[in-house]
Subunit: 259 residues, 2 copies
DNA sequence: CGGTATTTTGAGTATCGTCAAGGCCAGTGG
DNA sequence: CCACTGGCCTTGACGATACTCAAAATACCG
């Protein structure tokens, strides 16, 4: 993977990848890297059970984890996705409230909870980065809420696609093709997507094809979507702010491609 | 208000009320209290505009603030409520992503952002408390998401009522009456509640009366609900965990009443 | 090339959103 | 003290949308 800026395979845990964590004192980073170990999960495996108080803090290396809750009637609801670079596991105390499962095969970098906390106490910068991380996570959760508030499923799906474009851009599934189009790899299955959007797989399918009929997207494969009309999707989602974020992404991409 | 354990009106800002903050070194607390000032807002007033980077961190003293986003078509969506003891305003950097408005008349205790950050850097305990606070906020946001995922409005309303019972119990609107019943004061108007649940006021109204017809609640006044059947509500919401939290509340209340 | 899992489509029903009208309560002014 | 007015909540009727169940089509894998 050429994505990793510093350190090759020898740097087992990818913490240095974090832009926000990259300024941390070298010795602290060394301690962190020394205390970590990589763990592999295959799709569908449970990483942490809801209610547990796991003894580690972890960082996703590759793949997708889903944050979910199983409801009384057996249905599960997905409240978020964790991707490359996301942290999970609770620092200090408090149990995990949601089950974490691997949505795809995934690699996770684990730190002993005690060790992590010790390092945290020694480094206000790290603690601060962590806090900012959690704050942005909070905003993301509220973005999901905004999406869920949309009455029409097409609107929710439109919002989801835009979030995928803007937030998960760093990861390798938004493949920029040319001036107007973005190819998005939808990382989860239809049933999972349905649970995330608070609906059923049939409705998700219909919504995809409705957006295609409107000319806003092309369905290249069930899991590969070409976004043709960002503004249209934003209008459908009722949230023009999302369009702004994607536009930002596009200009950034253009710049980096020129460089 | 007899609610405040330590200090009367002389302790202008109610920070000491926080159970989690009460263990902080006295001088730090003094500094905090010295740097704060109370601000009043009347219902409907804007506290912070989305996109702003306000120069203060604040703590709600009384009343309700709503965290909301105005969508392209002019409708607004509410993503959360802030009550007595909740903190808002972003520490360190990053702008506020949602508009904050007073839902009722409210008092807010403001700290100079710089001052607050300085004190934060001097006190790992305070920073840690703040982090735990944000983490629980994150869980709350995900609870809202779970509620929003319910297809039937009655289910969402049931979930809302249970959250009101469990999370907002410390504030003075869950009035315990006797063994089986809880009287809940719904703090926001029907339109606001509709925006919070992602629906319309008419549907909210119908849902209230549907739950009443099922015998799960009594509508004493439009804004005063008697909860008769916690289990039933939890089943309607599809989330038995919520019932557990309310049960916990009930037993706690019973104990404290005996004492 | 066959078998399985996933996705898609179709038909019927339930639920919700919309528009419009009616009721309830509080505050105002006679 | 009572009628009036305005805001909010409620109710009713109708159309739009999504959910359910069932079956077909497609993609995936060996």
């Amino acid at each position: 993977m050429s994505v990793i800026p510093n350190g090759g395979p020898a740097t087992a845990c990818g913490l240095r990848r974090f832009p926000k964590l990259s300024q941390i004192a070298g010795d602290l980073m060394d301690d962190l890297e020394a205390s970590c170990h990589i763990q592999h999960f295959s799709a569908g495996q449970v990483v942490v059970e809801a209610g547990d108080a796991p003894d580690f803090v972890a960082c996703v290396q590759s793949g997708y984890l889903r944050l979910q809750k199983t409801l009384a009637d057996g249905r599960r609801h997905i409240v978020g996705l964790l991707v490359e670079g996301d942290l999970f596991g609770r620092v200090f105390d408090a149990p995990i409230q949601f089950t974490i499962e691997a949505a795809t095969d995934a690699e996770v970098c684990c730190f002993q909870r005690r060790t992590f906390e010790d390092i945290l106490l020694r480094s206000p910068e790290l603690e601060r980065s962590l806090m900012l991380n959690i704050l942005s996570e909070l905003d993301r959760a509220r973005d999901w809420m905004t999406i869920l508030s949309c009455h029409k499923i097409t609107g929710r799906l439109a919002g989801f696609l835009l979030i995928l474009c803007s937030r998960f851009r760093a990861v390798d599934h938004v493949v920029r093709v040319d001036g107007e189009c973005l190819d998005v790899l939808v990382p989860i299955s239809r049933p999972d997507l349905a649970h995330l959007l608070g609906t059923r797989r049939e409705s998700v399918s219909r919504a995809f094809h409705a957006l295609e009929d409107e000319g806003m997207i092309d369905i290249l494969r069930p899991d590969l979507i070409r976004v043709r009309d960002v503004e249209g999707l934003a209008a459908e989602a009722g949230d023009e702010e999302l369009a702004g974020r994607v536009a930002l992404l596009q200009s950034t991409r253009n710049l980096s491609r020129k460089a």
